[in-house]
C-alpha cells in the first residue's frame, strides 16, 4: 500500500517521547491558520513510498523507541498508516500521532489507526492559543490522550521542545518552535 509523504526524519527527540522516527504525511484539508507545515496541505503527489519500504526504513533505524506520524493530516491516510503502525508495534516500537482533528471527529475509517496508536495529540492548531513550552502541543486547546498503558503523563516532561539540525542540506527545525527567527541566526 502506498503513502504520500512530505518527508521523514530518522531520529528526533522533539516529536513525542524518546528518540523517534518521524513521518510527515502529505495532504491536509484543515489548513489551520499559522500552521508551521503549510507545504504539507496539498494532496498532490510528493514522495510516494510503499508501506514495505517505509517499515523497512523505520526498523533499520537503531536506537529509536517509536514512530511519530505528523503532517499533513495522518488520518487522511489512516488505512496505510495503520498498517505501518501495526508492523512497527509488532517489532516493539511505540506509535505517536499528531492530528488536527478533535478526538470526537475520529470515527469510522479512522478507527483502524487509532487502534494502533499509543499516544494521540488531537485538535486544530489555533494560533491565538499558542503557548510556548507546552509538551507536544502547539496550542492550549490541543489534547493529549494516552490510548495504551505504554506511556503516561510523566512521559511529557523533560523532552526536547525544539530540535534544530544543522547539516549539509541547511538548517531544519522540528518540534514546537518559538519564533524561528529568534533562534536561527539567518
Amino acid at each position: 500500500m502506498a503513502l504520500n509523504l512530505a518527508r521523514t526524519l530518522s531520529r528526533s527527540a522533539a516529536n513525542g517521547p524518546g528518540e523517534r522516527f518521524v513521518v510527515w504525511v502529505q495532504g491536509c484539508p484543515l489548513a489551520c491558520p499559522g500552521c508551521w507545515n503549510a507545504d504539507t496541505w496539498s494532496f498532490g503527489r510528493r514522495h510516494v513510498v510503499q508501506e514495505d519500504a517505509l517499515v523497512e526504513e523505520i526498523l533499520a533505524t537503531d536506537g529509536i523507541e517509536g514512530v511519530t506520524f505528523s503532517g499533513g493530516e495522518p488520518f487522511m491516510q489512516a488505512r496505510a498508516l495503520a498498517r505501518v503502525a501495526a508492523r512497527v508495534r509488532a517489532a516493539g516500537l511505540s506509535v505517536f500521532v499528531f492530528t488536527g482533528y478533535a478526538r470526537e471527529e475520529l470515527t469510522g475509517r479512522h478507527a483502524e489507526l487509532l487502534a494502533h496508536t499509543d499516544v494521540l495529540v488531537s485538535g486544530r492548531y489555533r494560533e491565538e492559543l499558542r503557548v510556548a513550552g507546552l509538551p507536544w502541543r502547539g496550542s492550549t486547546n490541543q489534547q493529549v490522550d494516552f490510548l495504551t498503558n505504554r506511556y503516561g503523563p510523566e512521559a511529557m516532561g523533560g523532552g526536547a521542545e525544539v530540535e534544530i539540525l544543522l547539516g549539509p542540506q541547511g538548517a531544519t527545525v522540528t518540534g514546537f518552535p518559538v519564533e524561528i527567527g529568534q533562534l536561527l541566526p539567518c
Binding site: R11, A13, A14, G133, G157, G158, G159, A160, E161, V162, E163, I164, L165, L166, G167, P168, A171, G175, V178, Q182, L183, L184, P185, C186
Partner: protein, 160 residues
Amino acid sequence: MSAFLTLRTPMLDRECLIEAIEATGLRRADIEVHARARALTGYQSGMQAEIVLRKQVTGDRYNDVGFRRTPTGYVAILSDDHPRFGRAWLADVQVAYDAAWTRKQARLAEAERQRLEEERRQLVEAQRVAIHAKAKAMGYRVKETRVGETVRLALVRRTY
C-alpha cells in the same frame, strides 16, 4: 638552416605547458620562462617567444625552440628538421599538456570543493554557536549530538 614550422596549438595554460615540456625529459632549469617575449636565435625573421629552449638544450647546430603566447593559446616555433625537438616532439608535448591540463582541472575542482565545504562548515559552526547563545537566553538547555555531518541541537526547557 632549413625552414621552420609554426604550429598553432590549443595550449592555453603556461603552468601546464612547462609541465608538459618537462615531461618530455627536460629539466625545469632547461626551460626559460619570461613574462615578455624574448628573441629566439637562429631564425631570420626576428621570432620571439615567452617560453624558450636555448641552443644549449636544442644543440649548437639548431635553432632555439619557443612557445609564443597568443590570445588563442601558445604557438610553437621550432625547426622541422630537428632530430629531437621537431614535430614528433611537439606531438609529445601536446599529449603531455592534455594530461597536465586534466590534472590541473581535477586539482582546481578539488580545491573549489574543499573551499565550499570549509565555507559550509564555518556557516554551520556560526549557526551552532548563535543558537546555543540564543537558546540559553530564552531559557533552554541545549543537548548537542552529532550524526555524521549533521549537528543536532535539542532544546529542552529548563525547569530549574
